[in-house]
Symmetry: C2
Subunit: 238 residues, 2 copies
Amino acid sequence: MNTPREHIIKSYDDELTRLTGEIVRMGELAVTQLESAIDVVERRDERAAQRVVDNDEAIDALEQEISHDVVRLLALRAPIAGDLRNVFAALRIAADIERIGDYAANVAKRSIPLSMVAPISAAAKLGYLAELAASEVRTVLTAYRDRDAEAAYQVWKDDADLDEAYTGLFRELLTYMMEDPRNITPCTHLLFMAKNIERIGDHATNIAENVWFVVHGEPLVAPRAKRDLTASPDFDRK
Amino acid sequence: MNTPREHIIKSYDDELTRLTGEIVRMGELAVTQLESAIDVVERRDERAAQRVVDNDEAIDALEQEISHDVVRLLALRAPIAGDLRNVFAALRIAADIERIGDYAANVAKRSIPLSMVAPISAAAKLGYLAELAASEVRTVLTAYRDRDAEAAYQVWKDDADLDEAYTGLFRELLTYMMEDPRNITPCTHLLFMAKNIERIGDHATNIAENVWFVVHGEPLVAPRAKRDLTASPDFDRK
């Protein structure tokens, strides 16, 4: 038989499990949005692109719902220490996922003005970037569900690969633009799309940091490569 | 004489006033960062740029502090209805300010690789964009401090001017890039800097929406021009 105290604790755990499930589902929706966005870039399907843009509202609504659940949980249960960390991380992770959804929708949106003259190889590399980012987000969501700090740390480190691929594509796009002025407008959109995907990777590392914090109770601090090398002082000093 | 109940209410109000003050100060720091960033772009001062980048940590730390204050307030006081709205808005506004700080630091960072060949008129227009954005953020912070929903709504509407200025600069930069390939790399950085400033305006409108919600208890919904016209289907269809 449960004592009333055990009953409260169990119910709190239930609520936390439900909250984690909601966040993971929201995250899966955001990854699907990213994959759909890349798909419409490849197919140049304007109506499908608009659908991705419209779907972003569902993710925003989920974040609002999760935020309200978190605030209710805080107000009703007054959690402390480890529980408070969990609730706090939930709020931050939901905000990161909301941003991932925004970036995915923006990739889809920019596929519409992208004219057919965009260099094919650059568009293909954008797909590769998106694959890396989607894989980061999926892995970190699983790490969050399982409270697996090591798996989260791996995502955090692996984001350097996405940064490197982004820097390579950035350089390549500049070259296309210099070769032929007709490439400038489409390559500018591809630059912003690539940047959006690189930012998705940054949000995956934010989530990884939150998973680490939830598990260990202290922040993840370790040396790591700078995020956007194209914005660094050395980028143009070859 | 205060009854204990009144005492609790007054103390809660005190805490909320203190929280509002903290957030306004954090916001002022972010605006100063934006102004410093534009200053270093104009002067091409690498060391000053690095200082702006480093200062961003202070804003991040303030956001962490505010988030913890909010969570403590929620856990200890279990506020309801209007109070809950206030606390909830504080959390969201602090997050928006943290993003504004990030964008300001990114503008400063990109000023470093910006070569001297960047078209002067474009760099000057970037300064104008930053002025509009800084004014939006300052005005919305005052509106938040005074719980002035009408002033917040004005900022929300005025952001259309910043969007228009951004679209104009975007077109101009494309023209420079097409005229001379040597402009491509510096103009790419200017494009990203302009985009960062345009996003600061978006965060000012987010804050405006939160001020409206705090005052009226319902979301601000009104027809408004699309944010980034350069990402819209009609941009390249002249």
